[in-house]
Amino acid sequence: MKLEAIGLKKYFPLTSGFSLRGARGWVKALDGVSVQVAEGETLGIVGESGSGKTTLAKLFLLLERPTAGSLLFDGKAVGDFGREDFVRYRRAVQAVFQDPYSSLNPRMRVGQIVAEPLPRDNGMSRPMVAQRVAEVLQLVGLPRESPALYPHEFSGGQRQRIAIARALVTYPKFIILDEPVSALDVSIRAQILNLLQETLGLAYMIISHDLAAARYLATRLAVMYAGKLVETGECDAVYAAPLHPYTEALLSAALPLHPSARRQRIVLAGEVPNPVNPPAGCRFHPRCPRVLPQCSSQEPEWREVKAERFTACHLY
């Protein structure tokens, strides 16, 4: 099974105040992104805020409709889905969000929360549902009595486990993780990261600004900047030798864990561009330390520059 995005675009309208007459402009949150995740693979999507990572996740979860481009599930376009297909898709693609304090309904018991994704008409009797809930809760390492409790009775790390259990309950094929450990304490992060690693075999799409966490989990990496992909490749290869100057700067800005590894960092000037009016040519050119004359006018082509390594940059 494969989940694939082809030339995905998402523009949000910019309306002025009370006027309902059309948009003044468009926020180009996602501007032509093509990625794919295959079974058993973990795709890490990294980038700074405003790069479009979360919009991409929302499109994959069918929480937003793409402005252009298509989403393929097992070769079938989501646009052509019938009712049955949607049910199948929703069962196969699940999500874990960043903040387990706001993603769990405080008025539902854990048992109900975890059982909620199970379709009501799938012929499972109550004991079967309870059995499945107990199974996944055990899998994520929560105590037996959990189903009867409310989310507030759990710590942050345990809540994230509940969220993971809820995602696992439908036997999904893909799990989309939006910053799964950012809201957790450092000593708890390892527990969750290891839990995710152990339940591998599923395909994950992990969206993160934490480059270390992405490196730990991901097998393939996609780097985004201002609504576009700048580089993809096998995770270790990208970390070892980044191709795109933005990837290079991003990795060098990430702080290594040891003081003796203090090294010359590439400190980028300026900020992520305004998505309403992104720079012409390559979107990174105003901040790029290795800018070429054609970068400001010509948009670099997305192509495979080495085996399994794609990037959009005039340097190659």
């Binding site: 700074e48 805020s49 710590s155 790390g157 304490d185 450092v186 000593s187 708890i188 992060r189 390892a190 527990q191 990261l193 290891n194 690693q197 600004h209 480059l211 270390a212 966490a213 490196r215 730990y216 995770c235 270790d236 970390y239 700067a249 991003l250 990795l251 060098s252 800005a253 990430a254 702080l255 290594p256 864990l257 040891h258 003081p259 003796s260 590894a261 203090r262 960092r265 400190v267 980028l268 000037a269 900020e271 992520v272």
Partner: protein
């Protein structure tokens, strides 16, 4: 430099919160010293007492629930805990300044940033009119805010996250404080912006000679800019030493566990070593070492008495019964 008397001496600081659930010992006997121009990182998880320690230094612990119940805080020899609140107001912003985590909430959305930077300078240095404007501009330029002259008239929502953090740092540094307390200053910032900000902070520190207490949970930031590290757990400092000492020879099991459980960008780890269990409930602290229930090197004595601080090397100490010589000191 080290021979000169320290800028800040904190001795056995205790800040408790008196709540219906009982007494929460948020800070329970914290001691450290800080010299001018030095950067001390306070590292720990949420609830370890790092932020409350900082609030205690400037006497901004939320009252009446929270109270500083003991200890001394000597800034250039004067005990801040003995000062009246009027005297404290002259210390805050002038001698000790703070930068908080989220500049969006620490800046006033209804005032221009010129007014906000100016307020501090006006209060502490009594400047008005053109000289005041000059000082404000200088403060903004020092933090490299482009087009400071026009930016003065802008509001905080017109700035990006990184620029906002520079504005609040400009406010903090405008009166040339002796001590800057930075509480998770880059948590709300992106990675490349965080790199920009940390570089800038180091530069400004070098030129102004200000001492920095940096509160963080990110060992990457500690490794990048701190001179010394204090690791906190459940309201106490469990290990303190120079950055290299602590990273190369972590002597408390908690520090060791923390350093092993983090993924690193520099190398791919096969498996992260988890720390089991949860951080303790501060209102129901165990009698002995609060880390004992999660500690891989737990001994019977750990559950009975809190371990003494044992020197490991010059300027490096850890509070652990497993450290060599701990039992002899008890």
């Amino acid at each position: 430099m080290r021979e000169s008397s320290p800028l800040l001496v904190v001795e056995d600081l205790k800040t408790y919160f008196f709540t219906r659930r009982g007494v929460t010992k948020a800070v329970d006997g914290v001691s450290f010293t800080l010299h001018a121009g030095e950067t001390l990182a306070l590292v720990g998880e949420s609830g370890s007492g790092k932020s409350v320690t900082c609030l205690s230094l400037v006497r901004l612990v939320p009252e009446p629930a929270g109270r500083i119940v003991g200890g001394r805080v000597l800034l250039e020899g004067e005990d801040l805990l003995q000062k009246s609140s009027a005297e404290m107001r002259r210390v805050r912003g002038k001698k000790i300044a703070m930068v908080l985590q989220d500049p969006l909430t620490s800046l006033n959305p209804a005032l221009t940033i010129g007014t906000q930077v100016g307020e501090v300078v006006r209060l502490h240095q009594g400047l008005r009119g053109a000289p005041l404007r000059e000082r404000v501009l200088e403060a903004l330029r020092r933090l490299r805010i482009p087009a400071a002259g026009t930016r003065l008239r802008h509001y905080s929502h017109q700035f990006s996250g990184g620029m906002r953090q520079r504005v609040s740092s400009a406010i903090a540094l405008s009166c040339a404080p002796r001590l800057l307390i930075a509480d998770e200053p880059t948590t709300a910032l992106d990675v490349t912006i965080q790199a920009q900000y940390l570089e800038l902070l180091k530069e400004v520190q070098a030129s102004a000679g200000v001492a920095i207490i940096l509160v963080t949970h990110d060992f990457g930031i500690v490794a990048a800019i701190a001179d010394r590290v204090a690791v906190m757990y459940a309201g106490r400092i469990v290990e303190m030493g120079s950055t290299l000492q602590v990273f190369d020879n972590p002597s408390h099991p908690y520090t060791r566990a923390l350093l092993r459980c983090l993924p690193d960008v520099g190398l791919k780890r096969e498996q992260l070593v988890e720390i089991g269990g949860q951080p303790p409930d501060l209102a129901r602290l165990p009698q002995g070492c609060p880390f004992a229930p999660r500690c891989p090197e737990r001994q019977p004595i750990c559950d009975e008495t809190y371990p003494p601080s044992v020197p490991v090397a010059g300027g490096h100490a850890a509070s652990c019964w497993a450290a060599p010589g701990a039992k002899a000191r008890a």
